[in-house]
Subunit: 247 residues, 2 copies
DNA sequence: TCAAAAGTGTTTTTAGTACACCCATGG
DNA sequence: CCATGGGTGTACTAAAAACACTTTTGA
């Protein structure tokens, strides 16, 4: 038996059938009160002209998450993506890409709505699509690869993480009000929540949101100024805020 | 611009730096009342002699889950693995494998304890290791690659899925008793549960477990015979059975 | 008859829900 | 003054936790 060094020197990485690893990012945000995903119109084969998640091939020297953040920064024209990002799942059906065997590691990213979605040179090629228009509408856009599936999984992950985590705050710019967070829940879950009970619930978890000394100034027809908060250290909501079960 | 067919004909899959995609499987089971993982002693470089999760390179014509089931069947000497399996996460730190860039898609598998863990030719090279001995003990075995991390993630996934899913039944051979399920919770969570309340809780979710007409025959010092159950169609526990929060 | 394990009953405590009502602002 | 949110109080309901007690077996 050879020793490890000799083994590694003679190892040929090209001895196996080629596979590519990509990252795809489902970037979710609230746009006009609707849960939306950033999509980019493909300017190259395959799926030329179809809408796709931002993403691309991983480079040899970077981690998967670094690749995801890099792609996101490139495709949204920001220096660095500093929003929430977490690994979602990997997709590796043999024929999901016509070029070759491609395994894609999908990431879920969440950011407050900032007016930054625009592709490198051509801003018209990137836009936020409401989830309802992508997945349920009759005139839904043609999506590249298995990206419809990835978006479905990203939305379901988001919906369920609202139950037991502080994820909703990732949708809000600091400082925010409790009503801002409530509107996140309402948009993502598609149901109304009682403002009074919601307020108590959020405040019940120590360290979830931290009250500031500031208040909002009411717009339009008035209303009492709302206290402003910033994110706290707590990442889990306990007890959780459960969606009522479909009986 | 070329058309898609021409583009694909001229596409060279070897134009990019080589990457490999592997699957690794964290197979968890209860062994002598302890949550345990199947590990295999490596007979090849790299990490020769270290303990590793079963796994291997994916083949071009199979899906990721098929690869995981195939590896599991090969390394446990069963025809087909028919237990629970779900994707866990992917691991792609650039230097996690000294041979080349390897991205591993990890799977979590759960099975009742059956006396089948044994490697292809040499049965002494595969065994169930209690999680406590792998992750916390002083004389913990040397684990290959980042497999300690994968096992940690698999255990945490399992612990949290017990809260809201029917996953515990995957640890039990049918038919089983409610006490069997309770012992799964107690082993995985490392805490005692009230048998009376646990029983009511399990029965509260319609279709989770289905009562049979049979009963166990008590062993040793007696005890009332327990009703036997099989798995039902329900996959989610509602309301969930929460671990009490670390205050 | 005792110990052991399954299973039921019941009380107490905690958390969720519904909704009345007060607060602070704009118009 | 009214409309519009923000925010508190409180009664009602559902679920969790604790634990006493009955059932059915082996020894």
């Amino acid at each position: 038996m050879t020793d490890e060094q000799t083994y590694l020197e003679h190892y040929d990485p090209r001895a196996f059938p080629p596979v590519a690893v990509t990252v795809d990012i489902a970037l979710l945000t609230l746009h006009n009160g609707q849960l939306s995903a950033l999509l980019i119109k493909r300017a190259e084969h395959p799926y030329l002209g179809a809408w796709a998640l931002p993403g691309g091939f991983t480079r040899t020297e970077e981690t998967l998450e670094e690749a995801a953040r890099r792609e996101l920064a490139e495709e949204t024209a920001v220096q660095t993506f500093d929003g929430h990002i977490e690994q979602l799942a990997s997709y590796g059906t043999p024929d999901r890409d016509p070029r070759m065997r491609v395994v894609s590691v999908a990431y879920l990213a969440i950011t407050p709505e900032t007016p930054r979605p625009n592709a490198g040179g051509d801003a018209s090629q990137a836009r936020l699509w409401p989830i309802a228009d992508i997945l349920e509408a009759e005139d839904a856009p043609a999506l590249a690869f298995d990206h419809a599936r990835i978006i479905t999984d990203a939305v379901e992950r988001t919906r369920s993480k609202l139950e037991y985590s502080s994820l909703a705050t990732a949708f809000c710019e600091e400082p925010f009000t409790i009503a801002d967070i409530r509107r996140v829940y309402e948009s993502v879950w598609g149901r109304q929540l009682d403002p009074a009970n919601f307020q108590r619930k959020l405040l019940a978890t120590e360290g979830l949101i931290v009250p500031l000394d500031d208040f909002t100034t009411p717009t339009a027809g008035g209303g009492r100024p709302a206290r402003l908060y910033r994110r706290g250290n707590a990442t889990t909501l306990y007890p959780p805020l459960l969606r009522t079960h479909p009986a």
